[in-house]
Symmetry: C2
Subunit: 180 residues, 2 copies
């Protein structure tokens, strides 16, 4: 997912892959000057990194009948003190819309990892509850992801810590928690 | 989009937002040790950063009847030497599936920014061609994104350059271009 660059000499059969984002940076500079180039490069690099990581994580998780977004929802339940959460709370936590939560929980329910049950004191509120099979797969999938260093190769521990610290500044600004 | 953490004390009405990813890191350490914590934090931070940036960019682009993925496809055409590309090439460049390219080009066509025309020498091959309205909005939208530093506030130029360099290592590994 690159905002362009050198669009005619695209890598095809036998052509060596090139750094499309770097190439876009050179085109940007030519057309609009260098003022926004570092921001354009960083934003499009994050978009592409997300694509790369999502594809790798989904491949690891495929053997567990999970996708990474479903894994995230499952882990929320697994790590909660009661093993259950209201659907609305899951959406808040994952910062996704209600329809996405419905889809995630539907997927987990089809795999037998989660059940929907009405809340004890408010029967109109639906809870997602992790099942024993869900608990078991959450542990196994986590061990697989940990062993694969969450698909971050070839980044080093120092690289990862630098990245997390930089992105924490962005997250704090957007999500409203203290940056310090 | 955080893999969990402190799921019962979620930020609700009036509760101060917390760093959910940092909290997940502490839970990870408790359950599985610290070996994969830097990788988990970096991966989930990139996922969340992508969500934040995409929402901000889409907001900026909404006034231009564009989304960021459509903007990327439009810029590919805008920066190509002929102002047109085969649909397959667009998919290669954006590294998305054919159905996604169809949706992107459909959206751009509905806005009047792109037209589909058969290729001169091979009438079975469809080209996407940028229209004069598409050229005009590509320039305007780019100026707006450049002025907004591609939604990267509050990151500094040095932060952005560090991020791009780190992610280039990941991209080179995944996309097969030389890391150097």
């Amino acid at each position: 997912m690159s905002v362009a660059g050198n669009a005619d000499g695209a890598p095809g059969g036998g052509v060596a892959p090139i750094d499309l984002i770097g190439e876009a940076g050179r085109q940007w500079d030519t057309h609009w000057g260098d003022d926004a180039v570092p921001a354009m490069l960083a934003t499009t690099s994050i978009m592409r990194a997300q694509q790369i990581l999502m594809a790798r994580l989904n491949e690891i998780l495929d053997g567990f009948d999970l996708t990474f977004p479903r894994y995230e929802a499952l882990m929320l339940l697994y790590l909660s003190s009661r093993g259950s959460l209201p659907l609305g709370k899951i959406g808040e936590r994952l910062q996704v819309h209600r329809t996405s939560v419905t889809n995630l929980v539907d997927g987990l329910e089809r795999s037998g990892y989660v059940e929907r049950v009405p809340h004890d004191s408010d029967r109109r509120m639906m809870l997602a509850v992790v099942t024993p099979a869900g608990r078991s797969v959450a542990g196994e999938a986590t061990r697989a992801l940990n062993a694969a260093q969450f698909a971050t190769a070839p980044l080093t521990k120092a690289d990862l810590e630098t990245m997390t610290a930089l992105l924490r500044t962005l997250r704090a600004d957007a999500d409203g928690f203290p940056p310090g």
